[in-house]
Symmetry: C3
Subunit: 138 residues, 3 copies
């Protein structure tokens, strides 16, 4: 049984942005040498969320507009009065998504359905972000 860990660095370019990290997760699992087990993808940030879904350009827009409706920017939030970034919406959106994703590993690769991609969702960029990819198994 092995525990392998890698820290992924992501440079985002916009305030709000979806970054497909599927290939990086795949590469980390390959590097781990684990053939059967689990991979945990983990955001080290409170305004960077994670989710697993389809990478289709129209859907990406819908996801962003959806989160924008649920947690709009600058809605008279308390935290906006103490944080110079006025990033309360960023925190709320990250909370709605996931902070970590657990994917099965089989045959040395993360198990993904036909339409599944792993996304890091930036809500307070542009920033340098870190995502830990940890693989456990045999």
């Amino acid at each position: 049984m092995k525990v392998y860990s890698e820290t992924l660095s992501i440079s985002t370019k916009n305030r709000v942005e979806l970054v497909d990290i599927t290939e990086k997760v795949r590469r980390a699992v390959a590097s781990s040498g684990v053939s059967n087990g689990i991979v945990n993808v983990y955001s080290l940030h409170t305004t960077l969320g994670l989710y697993l879904n389809e990478n289709e350009p129209n859907l990406r827009m819908d996801v962003l507009e959806f989160l924008d409706r649920l947690a709009p920017q600058g809605r008279g939030y308390h935290h906006d009065t103490v944080d110079a970034n006025a990033n309360t919406f960023s925190h709320l959106r990250a909370i709605l998504l996931s902070n970590s994703l657990s994917l099965p590993v089989a045959g040395g690769a993360p198990v993904l359905g036909t339409w599944q991609s792993v996304f890091a969702a930036e809500f307070d960029g542009p920033r340098s972000r870190r995502v830990i990819i940890q693989v456990m198994g045999e």
Copy 2:
């Protein structure tokens, strides 16, 4: 330390539907021979979500109506213009729920509180669905 994996097949009958898979998770954990560890329940789909909560008929209706309010069907979504299923609402609801659930395993069974049931939430059925149940431990 053991890694056990099983693929659960689910046939859903409606466009939107909640399927209680608790017993199937229990059976997979029993089959695994793992007494202490973790079980990861994982959806292989982008329009099938997972969640853990009470299986009470009225509450099941409330959960569906709640998701219907947050992510209504046919709200002029971009993705609906390119996907013949017009299933953007299905993706958005799956994103609000979880793609994977991690439950502790003790005494050869998943640890569940009195009211906790494991649900697969179909948002774009009827379809054949696959859920991976993976158990790691000793």
Copy 3:
């Protein structure tokens, strides 16, 4: 490879309340003797959610008000007619958050970014609550 498990007891004092359990997660990981691996924090309840975010008093208020907007109390829910606690809103909010959180463990501690705290979110208190902290690794 080791599997360590601890049950955390929490006494909440209000109907709705955020409890920072970061230090308790840290202590459990230290007690486990695991230096590299994963810690899974797991709610045993259907009206107690978990999330990872910043512990800043204004933001805590925003998080509660945000969930209050998305899943308001007493909105003519079906389940409220059969449950004396009229706690449908509590279930819905718990479903929006997470039932379990998976954090990497490195150097004998949970890996947390500068602003990350682990929260248990009570939505139907005051009650005695149980959260399982399970650590796997070497």
